[in-house]
Assembly symmetry: C2
Homo-oligomer: 300 residues x 2
Amino acid sequence: MDYLELKEYLGAEMLCVDKALDQAITFIESELESDIGDAIRHGVMSDGKRLRPILCTTAYRECGGQAEKTVYDLSASLEMIHAYSLMHDDLPCMDDAELRRGQATTHSVFGEDVTIRAAAALIPAAARQALQSARKLECGASGAAVVVQELLEAAGAGGMVGGQWLDLLGEGQTLSPKELDELHGRKTGALLTASLVMGALAAAAETETVSALASYGHSIGLAFQITDDVLDATQSAELLGKNPSDVDLDKSTYVGLYGLDQAKEHARERIADALGALESIDIDAPVLTVLARYVIERER
Amino acid sequence: MDYLELKEYLGAEMLCVDKALDQAITFIESELESDIGDAIRHGVMSDGKRLRPILCTTAYRECGGQAEKTVYDLSASLEMIHAYSLMHDDLPCMDDAELRRGQATTHSVFGEDVTIRAAAALIPAAARQALQSARKLECGASGAAVVVQELLEAAGAGGMVGGQWLDLLGEGQTLSPKELDELHGRKTGALLTASLVMGALAAAAETETVSALASYGHSIGLAFQITDDVLDATQSAELLGKNPSDVDLDKSTYVGLYGLDQAKEHARERIADALGALESIDIDAPVLTVLARYVIERER
């Protein structure tokens, strides 16, 4: 598979993920008896790469999973958690961002109160979504609990929220390389890793395979964040569709820490780690292989 | 069982629930690698009645559940969800409360950003806590998914969050009795009902029993809220340990809608409904029987 084929693959996957997401949100809206689900829809459906869901469906498929349709429902749970975290990240008392993914942020359209509620509602909705879809996959009803456990761990204090907290504490300070890895390993890496692990577990993959994909996820997660910092430092807000950058918020970045060239080298090393993890196991993973390289080659 | 015995029972249960909660929070803190779990501990462990956990353990026991210790772990998940909702309710952009349960609210001690994160972290932590403990109870691993589903539904858009939203929309408006029942049925009632249903399901109770306890929960939930409004109208903030009241926030209350005497009568009718539901099934439920009456007789 080359980059052109990968881009076609990603585009096709995105459509399927968005369809599953739309269904999930339509259901949440039906529970709300009014148009207040608009904030949820705005936060979740705004333009995005759907990287986490696609990592999940791809890992599932490359581990031999056969339930083509249901796995999109499982993968939607990851985007719901991701969207909740962005909605909270952008709040005035956090990063105070007006623009995200090229659109007005949820709180700047719907207000803080509605956004905090809408985001929090996405957490139980995502867990329910994962629980209901995973039990229909190869992992079965008892394995579904383990799949959901992964999502909950990644979304919680040990994962994403812990990382957001380190992020908050790190403002105005210069973090060490180890601290910055720890921050991003939890803030972004935990959910990216969970995406792959959930896909592999749902396909009832062997323990060794699940571990290797977790390691792959951790490495591409760091490479992804380094690349974000590189793009922030080299491209305009207009092209990236978001503001303000971490530099404006006085946060440590990989570019600030290593300089541009060394940061890029650091990202390449992480991708080599990811590919090494893939090669250590006995599965044919053409998409995950190309995807790892693409993480650092992307332009937005 | 009389009220004096009930108060002793509630006191003893509260100690066991608090022990399980303390363990759960200690684990979350261990995941955070710094003292930032303090906000979570403050929000969860502040003085409270632990009504939801105690409804859960009591329903479990009166449905024949035998795992005396583990059910406290399950019940702790309900208090964690309840605490998250209070932490968000009290925020400046919501009710803007400085005092709750006689203590400074979490955001007034730790700030908005930390409180929003801490509260959101409690949702996946609660779901994980419920998942891990329920599988050790009579319902088994496959039943545990159903137990957690109840928690997620109650905490989500169809339950608590939906109710909070109706609450938000209802400010400055006069709601009809039906709208006010709908609001509180979701905002408070959904989680109270889930407490009983989760306890019954965990004990592997029959479907008929689970339904009757759900109905009991719905009725005492409404009675509980009416009594809150009555207490707000008749007692000082100092005694209640919270401010401001719904009246100050220009929200509809049962006392405003019905007047004091009719509101009390309305609460008594709901308790009669709850007792009717209990009598319709073939379980011996001395504690739930007295507890229903106590809901409207309490002084804070």
